[in-house]
């Protein structure tokens, strides 16, 4: 019997939601188990990194890599899995664009450690101990991965073949990619390297709300109004990122009366998601007075980075905020 194709799944800086999402394909998971020999899946099976190190290069057929890269271990595993895999897929928003871990790019290691280990209200750390990459103990030297100042996406670390967007990706999309890969391994043509698997238009395409021409006098926060279920959320004043977010999720959030927050990433060809949000929202502000425009923006969008780059900060053109100390 010919060997089954090999599948690896790995999680870097992530929440674990993508792992659960894989299971969200329900009984189809059995098809996956039947079709593949899973060689690495830290959340579910006991294979180790050193097992992967022993494999021949390109012997893993497909690796679904979720999570962003923010320490040396994660970077190492990204490099390792790239070497050992034929197809490396950036699975989920963290690997694709940086996602929520990416928001740590508004700070650096010093500031993060200082807060988490010393200043946070719930911390009890009178000696101010913070993690060190290396410490001597009687048994020898212990190492911890080195924590980076800047979160990177998978494609800022290694070459990536495909991307599956979403936080987490939707079950049907996960299943489609599995099916496509299985077919591809049997000789069917695969999409060009670098493809983001999903639609080439934005969430508005899948949203059923009515829309008119846009004229914004104020941006509302989600706690300020309860929107109606029929009109475009942006027209009701909420910042809905569906304008700029790649379709493929079925406009799930607007369907439950919540504005889209952009987890599915940018549309095809877009290099900076936040720029698209900024330009489109600004262009339709209904004012020609600079002072009024400034007020509308400052009152309605108090956290522009969190609003426009919630999922995509590391993948944006600037990638992070200014860092004092240059990251040395």
């Amino acid at each position: 019997m010919t060997a089954k194709p090999k599948l690896a799944l790995y999680w870097a800086a992530s929440c674990g939601g993508c792992e659960i999402a894989v299971l969200a394909i329900d009984e189809k998971i059995l098809e996956v188990a039947a079709a593949f020999d899973i060689v690495l899946w830290p959340v579910a099976i006991d294979a180790k990194a050193r097992d992967v190190e022993k494999m021949a290069d390109k012997s893993i057929d497909v690796c679904l890599f979720n999570g962003s890269i923010r320490n040396s271990e994660q970077e190492y595993m990204a490099q390792l899995l790239r070497r050992k895999s034929k197809i490396l897929v950036a699975f989920g928003s963290c690997a694709h664009e940086g996602c929520i871990p990416g928001l740590a790019n508004l700070a650096g290691r010093e500031a993060i450690f200082d807060y988490v280990y010393r200043k946070s209200p719930s911390v009890d750390n009178p000696q101010g101990i913070v993690p060190q990459p290396e410490v001597q103990v009687p048994e020898g030297t212990l190492h911890l991965p080195m924590f980076y100042d800047t979160v990177k996406t998978l494609d800022q670390t290694v070459d990536v073949d495909y991307y599956v967007p979403g936080c987490p990706p939707e079950a049907e999309n996960i299943y489609s990619i599995v099916v496509a890969v299985i077919a591809g391994l049997k000789g069917a043509p695969l999409p060009p390297a670098g493809t983001v698997l999903g639609k080439e238009t934005t969430v508005c395409d899948e949203c059923e709300r009515t829309r008119e021409e846009k004229k914004i006098k104020a941006f509302k926060r989600t706690w300020e109004i309860i929107p109606n279920e029929t009109e475009c959320l942006l027209e009701q004043g909420l910042v809905c990122c569906g304008l700029a977010t790649r379709a493929g999720c079925g406009a799930l959030c607007p369907k439950v009366n919540s504005p889209c927050i952009g987890c599915h990433g940018a549309n095809a060809g877009v290099v900076d998601f936040g720029a698209r949000m900024m330009t489109s929202l600004a262009s339709v502000i209904d004012s020609d007075d600079p002072a009024e425009i400034r007020r509308i923006i400052q009152e309605g969008i108090p956290d522009p980075v969190g609003t426009f780059y919630r999922f995509s900060l590391p993948h944006s053109l600037l990638r992070r905020s200014a860092l004092s100390g240059n990251g040395h």
Partner: protein, 672 residues
């Protein structure tokens, strides 16, 4: 896809070569810039030899792109595009870098100039390799023309086009054509009677078979583009049926209601509720002023209807709308006058015998409210001394910074008329005396001979508060006489304020309706102030006369004729080329969010409800690129200024920028 780029660095004599190392630059471009296969420097690229250099290289070396580092593209972009075209290359595959206006002429340090020149060339070389071949669209020109405004300028333009055998629609807001010139008494420097030289032209317009006169009408909406505009005109109801009216004027005679005529008589005289603005009005049909008509106010009277021999009064008449198709539009909308009440220290509106220049014209005019007698507001007393105050609202940082061009001459004219009709003394209070055109300085000499007085000083105040003997009951002009070096208080019976010309109160709105803009002062913006004063930045829309800026009648007439000539040129060509710099919405990427829909001032973007996508009508698109930049899905591309081209140019411009002192990590991969 590798292109073969030819780079040409122009010396422009010593204009560029004097500051920039042109040979070094050409050498650097050839060695360092990817894609460059030929790199030359030459003394004068715009000369025929320079252009041939490009043409030869295209043919012999098989160049697919050309970069010319020379002067501003505003000067020679067409030249080099034509050179490429002659050699069989699409003209849009050529890019210019401005090494003269942007580098050599503005930079002190030679080394810095070289660095900047390299950046601009690098930018152009990277950009041009992403250019696409584009073809302009040829569209037909409708031979009919719309002229808006029927003062002397609009009349001139309309007559010239009509005489050339083409159809003209002439729209005028007031009930009669003639404009401000119809209000004047005499014109300088010839002292022709204004109405006498104007009315023959007015009557030509009224009778010309090629002119459709739409008076008491306004343009409501303009759609379309050069060669095919569609214009909606609202003809306001006169309440007189034009086909039946003989112009006999009995309705006017019998109308019992007299009201102050604020428009033509500038508040100095009266008219009836049904009226003609002036006796020689064209067209002859009266107009009923419903705001003052007893029938419309109280439901009674109807004298006009009773006495009209042809039953031409129709109280039920409605405004009508016409849709006109024209190829070109000429705006000759004229001016308003400065409201002298804005300068309280001159006393206009408070001191009865302070007049504006337009009011004084009506006084002098034999058909005016005083039958041409120059008298004070009481209608009887003849003034013995008249002051003419120049620059009221002009040349003044508090009101209008510009000179109104005509007031000095008008003041001289008033001086002459006063001395001709009365025994009064007349004194001009001026800052400078502006008498530039043909016969103007000689007219000033004449007035000096005739005994007009002149004081060089801007009047500080006109007051009726007497302080010194001889000032009781007079208007005192307080002025610094700068030639004497003294403050003076001079008593006068009458003061005339030479008020500034100002743009029409609704010039900005009107401009927007036609798709043209106004300057900071409110005059319509011409395409080029020196070399193209009657064209605008919008093809097919022309401006002439005072609406473009203050000027006298000869200059207005010349501009009216110039605009007419431009239009006739378009008509005889028959077609016009539209630049292919337009935007396209890619429906497969468009989600129908409609962000772009209200971003286009030309209404080029429509939303297709059934398909759920937006769409650009490229015939209306003027290529500004605003929608391209705004689209959140990045579904809109802009020809010749697309994202990749601009980013490539940026990368070239920043060729020498530090990119992190230790080198950046793996760059962001751009998803397909």
């Amino acid at each position: 896809m590798t292109e073969k780029v030819g780079v040409y660095i122009c010396h422009c004599g010593s204009n560029i070569a004097g500051k920039v190392d042109v040979e070094g630059l050409a050498k650097w471009a050839g060695e360092e810039l990817e894609g460059v296969v030929i790199s030359r420097d030459y003394k004068f690229m715009c000369s025929s030899l320079g252009q041939e250099l490009i043409e030869e290289d295209i043919k012999k070396e098989g160049l697919t792109r050309v970069v010319v580092g020379a002067c501003s593209p505003h000067l020679h972009e067409k030249t080099f595009r034509r050179a490429c075209s002659n050699a069989g290359m699409n003209p849009y595959l050529c890019q210019m870098a401005s090494l003269r206006e942007q580098v050599s002429w503005v930079t002190e340090d030679k080394a810095a100039a070289d660095v900047k020149a390299r950046a601009l060339i690098a930018g152009a070389v990277r950009r041009v390799q992403l250019h696409e071949s584009l073809e302009p669209t040829e569209v037909p020109v409708n031979p009919a023309t719309l002229v808006v405004g029927a003062g002397i300028t609009g009349i001139q333009a309309a007559l010239e086009i009509a005489e050339a055998g083409h159809k003209v629609f002439l729209v005028e807001r007031e009930p009669s054509i003639g404009g401000h010139m119809a209000q004047f008494d005499k014109t300088f420097p010839t002292l022709d009677c204004s109405a006498c030289i104007l009315t023959p032209k007015m009557s030509d317009v009224g009778q010309h078979e090629n002119i459709t006169l739409l008076s008491y009408a306004e343009v409501e909406e303009v759609k379309g583009f050069v060669g095919s505009f569609n214009v909606r005109v609202r003809k306001k109801a006169r309440y007189v049926v034009e086909e039946d009216c003989t112009g006999c004027g009995i309705c006017i005679e019998k109308c019992p209601k007299k009201v102050v005529d604020e428009v033509f008589e500038v508040g100095m005289g009266k008219r009836k509720a049904i009226y003609r603005p002036f006796p020689q009005a064209v067209p002859k049909y009266p107009v009923l002023d419903t705001a003052n008509c007893t029938y419309f106010l109280k439901g009674t009277c109807k004298a006009c209807e009773k006495f009209c021999p042809t039953n031409a009064i129709d109280f039920e008449q409605q405004d009508t709308y016409l849709d006109l198709d024209v190829g070109n539009i000429i705006l000759a909308t004229g001016f308003d006058t400065f409201d002298a009440r804005r300068i309280p220290q001159y006393g206009y509106g408070r001191l009865p015998n302070v007049f504006t220049s337009l009011e004084f014209e009506r006084l002098c005019n034999a058909a005016g409210p005083t039958d041409g007698k120059i008298v004070l507001r009481d209608g009887v007393t003849e003034p013995k001394s008249i002051a003419l105050v120049h620059c009221v609202g002009s040349r003044d940082e508090h009101y209008n910074p510009y000179c109104s061009a005509v007031c000095c001459m008008a003041a001289l004219k008033f001086g002459h008329l006063v001395m001709e009709k009365t025994a009064a003394e007349v004194t001009s209070f001026y800052i400078d005396l502006r008498t530039p055109a043909k016969g103007y300085e000689e007219f000033y000499d004449r007035l000096l001979e005739e005994g007009m007085k002149f004081v060089r000083g801007k009047v500080g105040e006109v007051s009726d508060a007497a302080r010194l003997p001889g000032e009781e009951g007079k208007l005192i002009v307080q002025v610094e006489d700068t030639l004497l070096g003294k403050q003076r208080r001079i008593p006068f019976d009458m003061v005339v304020l030479m008020t500034a010309l100002e743009p029409r109160f609704d010039a900005k709105e009107v401009g927007l309706r036609f798709g043209i803009s106004c300057s900071m002062q409110g005059w319509f913006t011409e395409r080029h102030p020196k070399l193209d004063p009657v064209a605008t930045m919008t093809d097919g829309i022309f401006i002439c006369g005072v609406c473009q800026g203050p000027k006298d009648i000869p200059a207005s007439v010349a501009q009216g004729a110039a605009a007419a000539a431009r239009v006739q040129g378009m008509i005889s060509r028959g077609t016009v080329l539209i630049e292919p710099i337009v935007a396209t919405i890619h429906a497969e990427h468009c989600s129908g969010c409609r962000i772009c829909n209200n971003l286009c001032p030309y209404n080029a973007i429509e939303f297709k409800l059934e398909e759920g996508v937006s769409f650009i009508n490229q015939a209306l698109c003027k290529g500004c690129g605003t929608c391209v930049a705004a689209c959140p899905a990045q579904a809109i591309t802009g020809a010749h200024f697309n994202n990749q081209q601009i980013v490539a140019e940026l990368e070239g411009l920043l060729y020498d920028a530090a990119r992190g002192t230790q080198g950046a990590p793996k760059p962001v991969a751009v998803p397909a």
